[in-house]
Amino acid sequence: MRLMKRYVVLAAVLAGFAPAAMADAHQMKMSHMSMAHMREAPQGCSDLTLSCATTVTPFFAADGTLWIAARAGNRIFVAHSQNDGRTFSNAVAIDSGSAKLDWGPDARPKIVVDHSGIVTVAYATFRDNAFDGEVFTTQSRDGGKSFDSPKPITDIQESQRFIDIQLDADGHLFAAWLDKRDRVAFKAEGKAYPGAGLAFAWSNDHGKNFSKTRIVLDNTCECCRLAVALKGPGQPVVLFRKIFPGGIRDPAIVTFHGPNKPGLLHRVSVDDWQIDACPHKGPSLAIAADGSYHAVWFTQGKARQGLFYARSTDAGKHFSKPLPLGPAGQALSRSSILATGKTIWIAWKAFDGTKTNLMLMTSHDDGASFGPLRVVSSTAKNSDHPILVRGGNKVFLSWQTQEGYHLIAVGDAS
């Protein structure tokens, strides 16, 4: 078995992150083998290696195994690690066929592993030259050695993109994505149909089959990812960019009261971002043990511009005053948020004109207050979205850059 050897940065980022540790981390990153140019990767680099990957999505299984689903060129592969990313198993390709994978800036393969060890991967392709998408899922029931032929999540041929999948505590798999099936009816009536619908389905057989697709609502921003978190078994919560009247694209949230009972829409923030364009920047969502919601989103609205955090203690009906993330004057993007106990972790990218800094901010009182900003890592090359992930009692930042893959331990899960 050929192992994909990976360096891993295990510099624990506690209060007062040591400059020496940062320097070490930087040296380790620089020693990575250089990966192909990310722009060229879809055409030129499709080896099933992390050095070729442009997006990497992590998931820690209950047994502590780190799984990743990665896109390299026009291929998706899965690998796993028993030692927090120091080495990985052989990469196993998903047979995604000849269709182009959805390479939108907010698109990525998603992966979950349930308690019985079944691995489910979800992703989207572009089915035509008009960039209409199609969502697929596939499973491995032999510990990631092989994957079934991917199946469309729905038979409907209208565009689908930006799937997210989450396992609830009862082992049921929730899938949500953006779906344009309703535009057909609107078009038949001569009505405009901006954006896409928010669609969902459940699988009660470990991802083998999904229920009939249901649409929660229409007119969400079609080019921004959505975020899903679970309030409890059968109670997903979805945060997304909604197109409000007047073409305002502000963050909104829906809480399910049961597996097929989506609740009312609530607006997270009145940013007043009127934009008839593709922001390519979806939000992030976490739900803490006490049931509080924690949201991060990007806006260029009239009311505020930048990356913002807010929390809700009444199941999303009301959110706190948006807290701007920093540093001011830098291009902030690609947030990730995680809740462990009373600790809220927020990571994002901050481009200062020369390099992209990986920022981290934590709260130990359920988001009421936050500690100082920390620079966890940086790169002067292209980079993927950072993703916060819990593995056992540790919290990691997963970050693919042009220099290689990094799994950075940033602290203990409280």
Binding site: H37, M38, R39, E40, A41, P42, K100, W103, G104, P105, N129, F131, E222, C223, Q274, I275, D276, A277, C278, P279, H280, K281, F298, Q300, Q305, G329, A331, S333, K349, F351, G353, T354, T356, K381, N382, Q402
Partner: protein, 166 residues
């Protein structure tokens, strides 16, 4: 005879490669520093730089409007920059521009550096890649940036202000 055929094949191959090179060069690579060079190259002339993507539905809907505009009004420079992160084949982009009424003489660029954050920042530190996005550069160098589908009236007003004849 064999030698003659060899020469003919060689010449045909050279012509073929020259033709391909000319076609590919119509889309200029937009990389680190390209924005500064565009601004410098068009200094003193009213210039509209339109950032778009083939994958962006509003962009595709809007582009023919720009094609009509440059047919109707003259005396300003129009530049397009395609910003999709995984580019479509150049032929597809060129065909789309041509179908939208933008001739092959229109100055057309495409992002050719994966470090998009840097390219965005160089164009405008507040721009994070939302498209369509249009930058209006006046004769005096004054820059205005608009995100979203442009309003034809607003464009014509700007051209009027630049003393571009209707």
């Amino acid at each position: 005879m064999k030698t003659k055929w060899k020469w003919m094949l060689l010449i045909a191959g050279m012509l073929s490669s020259m033709s391909f090179a000319a076609s590919a060069s119509e889309l200029r690579p937009f990389v680190d520093g390209s924005w500064a060079s565009i601004v410098k190259a068009h200094a003193g002339r009213p210039t509209i730089v339109h950032f778009w993507g083939l994958s962006c539905r509003p962009c595709r809907t809007e582009m023919p409007v720009w094609g009509q505009l440059i047919k109707q009004r003259h005396g300003f420079d129009f530049v397009t920059v395609e910003t999709d992160m995984a580019p479509s084949p150049p032929e597809q982009i060129e065909a789309f521009l041509s179908n939208a009424g933008l001739s092959k003489t229109t100055e057309a660029w495409r992002f050719a550096d994966g470090f998009a954050e840097k390219l965005y920042f160089q164009v405008d530190p507040k721009w994070q890649g939302e498209i369509p996005m249009t930058i209006f550069i006046g004769k005096d160098g004054h820059i205005e940036r608009h995100v979203g589908v442009e309003d034809a009236k607003a464009i014509n007003s700007w051209l009027d202000a630049q003393n571009i004849a209707r």
